[in-house]
């Protein structure tokens, strides 16, 4: 499997827009996409998955993003959605919720998308998520703002966060998360951007778009595998 676009937000009430985004992704040569459905129908049923998969030849994976305001809301959302076979990500500027999410084994990804949320990232959260084997997500969406002064500030924030995360943990992914279809880019191009403008090494950047995403998907698959007990412990069938 090649590189992943780790976050593509799709409004599942507007299939024309979805088709358009899929067409551009295919033209760009993207092979693997992790979709985040938004809108009223965001609870992923089998019908919706089949409908989405019929629109494209790309490998589709799914994620659900929660934006809880407090710890209780986080716990409620996680327990009520625990049967959804998707990647669970948490995105919030509230530090208390971030710490709780980093401790909770049901949370797969803690996202830092916008500059306000990025400013709240601390080494403590990175360390907690590392202990729990969950992932930190950095999103490059903020670099596409049209205001040049704001864009420079966003690049600075991205640079800071990318370096602090890459120096403290291996469990991090980088996603495009672009809203406008004409801002979409092939992950290989994003690797170049991370290398040249954010100062990450090519190897680290490639890991964030490939190996780490594969590990994240495997983590989710293992969670729903009834034979899987914990890392290194799995029931196997006779003769397997």
């Amino acid at each position: 499997m090649s590189y992943f676009e780790s976050r593509l937000r799709l409004n599942v009430e507007n299939f024309e827009e979805i088709k358009n985004k899929f067409t551009i992704c295919e033209k760009l040569g993207i092979k693997n996409v992790i979709i985040e459905p938004i809108g009223k129908l965001k609870n992923l049923g089998i019908d919706l998955r089949e409908k989405l998969e019929s629109l494209t030849k790309m490998h589709l994976f799914y994620r659900t993003c929660f934006r809880p305001k407090n710890v209780d809301e986080l716990k409620n959302k996680l327990s009520s959605n625990r049967k959804l076979p998707t990647i669970f990500s948490i995105e919030t500027p509230n530090k208390e919720v971030q710490i709780q999410a980093a401790k909770d084994s049901r949370v797969d990804v803690i996202s830092f998308t916008d500059p306000i949320t990025m400013k709240t990232l601390t080494s403590g959260i990175i360390s907690l998520s590392k202990q729990n084997n969950s992932f930190i997500e950095i999103s490059l969406t903020s670099m596409m703002v049209t205001n040049k002064a704001q864009q420079s500030k966003n690049f600075r924030e991205l640079y800071r966060i990318a370096h602090s995360v890459s120096s403290l943990t291996n469990n991090f992914i980088i996603s495009g998360n672009f809203e406008d279809p004409y801002h979409l880019k092939h992950p290989r191009a994003l690797i170049s951007i991370c290398h040249t403008l954010l100062g990450l090494s090519i190897i680290d950047a490639k890991k964030a778009f490939k190996e780490n995403v594969k590990r994240l998907i495997k983590r989710v698959q293992d969670r729903y595998d009834t034979n899987f007990i914990e890392n290194g412990v799995k029931f196997i069938k006779e003769g397997e």
Partner: protein, 110 residues
């Protein structure tokens, strides 16, 4: 003195159907992007040269110094608009020789 090695970059031009541009518009926007994101220090090292731009087949080939390949890929990727037209310049392949670049299946499509 040893000659500087080059890299050829093939890129796709993706647009929404209407595109009235010429080669110079694309070249200007590439330079603009290089200047904006990397400044004169990198611009002097690039050695940018347009080999071919085919707006009908929607692709282009440019040449650069091999050390600045990543810089040029970044500059290409960060172009979102040329003369008010929304476009994506998406790098497809890089190669050390023009001969191997021409073997790319994307260029053989009718």
């Amino acid at each position: 003195m040893r000659n500087e090695r080059n890299r050829y970059i093939l890129f796709k031009i993706i647009h929404n159907g209407i595109l009235s541009l010429d080669h110079s518009d694309i070249l200007k926007s590439i330079w603009k992007s290089i200047w904006y994101f990397f400044g004169i220090k990198e611009a002097t090292k690039i050695g940018l040269w347009v080999i071919e731009i085919d707006l009908e087949k929607e692709f282009g080939i440019i040449r650069c110094a091999h050390q600045t390949k990543e810089v040029l890929i970044t500059a290409l990727s960060l172009i979102t608009e040329i003369n008010g037209f929304k476009v994506i310049l998406s790098p497809v392949k890089t190669s050390g020789t023009i001969k191997s670049m021409k073997r790319e299946s994307y260029l053989k499509k009718p």
